[in-house]
Symmetry: C2
Subunit: 315 residues, 2 copies
């Protein structure tokens, strides 16, 4: 069997899973990535290596998604199962799985039928997939959410610790997509589902531009720099909803304002790296000190990297 990259032994489905793994690994490795775990920063209970192990562990789940072997909710529950069984650092990639699973299902359908990669077609199909989720997907989402140990947003509609919430989900006939519609105002990942993965595509296009995928001349011909800058740019445009959930709206907006200042400097200096890294390093220290981690922004960067790698980003 010939693979996507011209070598033997790889199905398109396994290739998709490798792109998802590398997306997660490059994201967590990029440094300094303000406020988040990276190759130079651990948290007390969750370490860099926990993220690496989690990323590796989900190959079979992403491959199953690409083969359309299972439904969104069941795949999500299974991704959390694999991640938990390979590392003990707690929640690492729940938000990322929520994006990668429908995107991988769409990629498997399109590339598996022999079509050429097309970013817009990919996210359009992923949007159809999330729109067609049902109440079973919603129930599996909550089960996965519980076992991942994600911090519960206090404005959630359902008490996730209580099985009776499943009964009310059934009675109301709510699908997983419906839950995302409810959450879209205060959760970036939900907003990606509802809006059709717009920020994921934006990140992929940024990464492609920085890394010169089209061959027009790279702005930032270094994968670490490209990921860090895409992260800052997204953070400057969208207050991180993981920070908002853990603190409040003002704090999330203040963090984005600080990111915007750095991004402006970088853009006006023609992407000169040296002064930029000083500012990023200080911003990183500040957020780490205050325990402010832009986790939702990181999830969207992972999805952007996945799309770019699928489209041929190499370094």
């Amino acid at each position: 069997m010939h693979s996507m990259d011209g070598c033997n032994n790889q199905s398109v489905y396994s290739h998709i899973a490798c792109c998802a793994q590398l997306g997660m690994i490059l994201e967590v490795s990029s440094s300094p990535k303000p406020g988040n775990i990276d190759r130079h920063h651990d948290y007390e209970d969750t370490r860099y290596e926990h993220f690496l192990a989690s990323a590796v562990s989900v190959h079979p789940v992403i491959e199953a998604a690409a083969r359309n072997d299972s439904r969104v909710g069941a795949l999500l529950k299974n991704a959390v199962c694999h991640s938990n069984s390979w590392q003990s650092g707690g929640n690492t990639h729940f938000g990322a799985f929520l994006l990668l699973i429908p995107l991988s299902m769409a990629a498997g359908e399109l590339l598996g039928s022999g079509k050429k990669f097309d970013m817009d077609e990919l996210v359009a199909r992923a949007h159809e997939i999330v729109c067609s989720t049902d109440t079973d997907d919603a129930i599996d989402f909550y089960k996965a959410f519980r076992s991942a140990g994600v911090r519960v947003n206090d404005v959630d509609e359902f008490d996730l610790q209580d099985d009776s919430s499943f009964v009310s989900l059934r009675e109301e006939g709510l699908t997983l997509y419906d839950l995302m519609v409810i959450s879209q105002g205060y959760d970036q990942i939900a907003n990606e589902w509802v809006s059709g993965f717009g920020d994921c595509v934006k990140c992929a296009r940024m990464l492609d531009r920085f890394m010169d995928v089209s061959g027009d001349g790279a702005l930032i011909p270094d994968i670490n720099h490209a990921v860090v800058f895409s992260f800052l740019k997204l953070l400057s445009d969208r207050p991180d909803t993981f920070i908002r959930t853990k603190t409040d709206e003002n704090t999330a907006e203040e963090v984005s304002y600080q990111a915007k200042c750095i991004v402006s400097k970088l853009e006006s200096s023609g992407y000169h790296m040296s002064p930029f890294w000083d500012d990023v390093g200080k911003f990183d220290e500040l957020l780490l000190e205050k325990g402010l981690n832009p986790g939702s922004t990181a999830d969207i960067i992972i999805a952007g990297l996945f799309i770019s790698l699928l489209g041929g980003l190499r370094f």
Copy 2:
């Protein structure tokens, strides 16, 4: 399909491939790992991210090895093909592939037939597999060697740049195992093939002991520390043949002597970390300055991590 780790969707063959990926990723991430690329150190043309991409890229090849879909030489050639097509940093894992491929073939046979993991049985079967290689494997090895861009040892018996060497291989009926017998005195990887993967097992047992896989109380309950110490211990016991090839025997022995001094201090201090890390950091700087990288030691650590992860090492 139920997997090795109790979740759905994973075959034992894909599980074996994930263990190989994580072994490569943990090895290159561990820091300070004297003289080698790690999460804090790049070389000029080869970066940390090149190793990450290479490790991710070979999932399908290791899975094919575990399924015994192909022969050692063809798998090796294909592993190099995948690694090269995902990253442009040159040779990253050629020595590691030479160890991981027969070990994965053995693991696939044993675990695929429902047997429980047994370290001794695993390497015994891997030794039978390498003993049964043939001249086609030898030719594929040379082709892979060329395309990986590995530094050619000046005492090699055959001119690798010349296709006529294949003719003489055929005429002499030399197998890949025969080539390893010829090289065993000056190449640690060849020596592992011939001796039955003894140092790989030694590393796996060290990692298991440090990480307390048996539950007797961990000496170094931290995966980064455990890998760095296993690396130093192996380096102190065996002069690195990659250093020897690039410089000379005395230099390789001097590096091992320096490693032995650090290991002795650590052992006699009851594994207290703080003074140990200072010494390791200085040793790392010294080797990096001199361009001495113990690459063969790193390859064996990867195989040790692979065996430990297969056996249940988690963190």
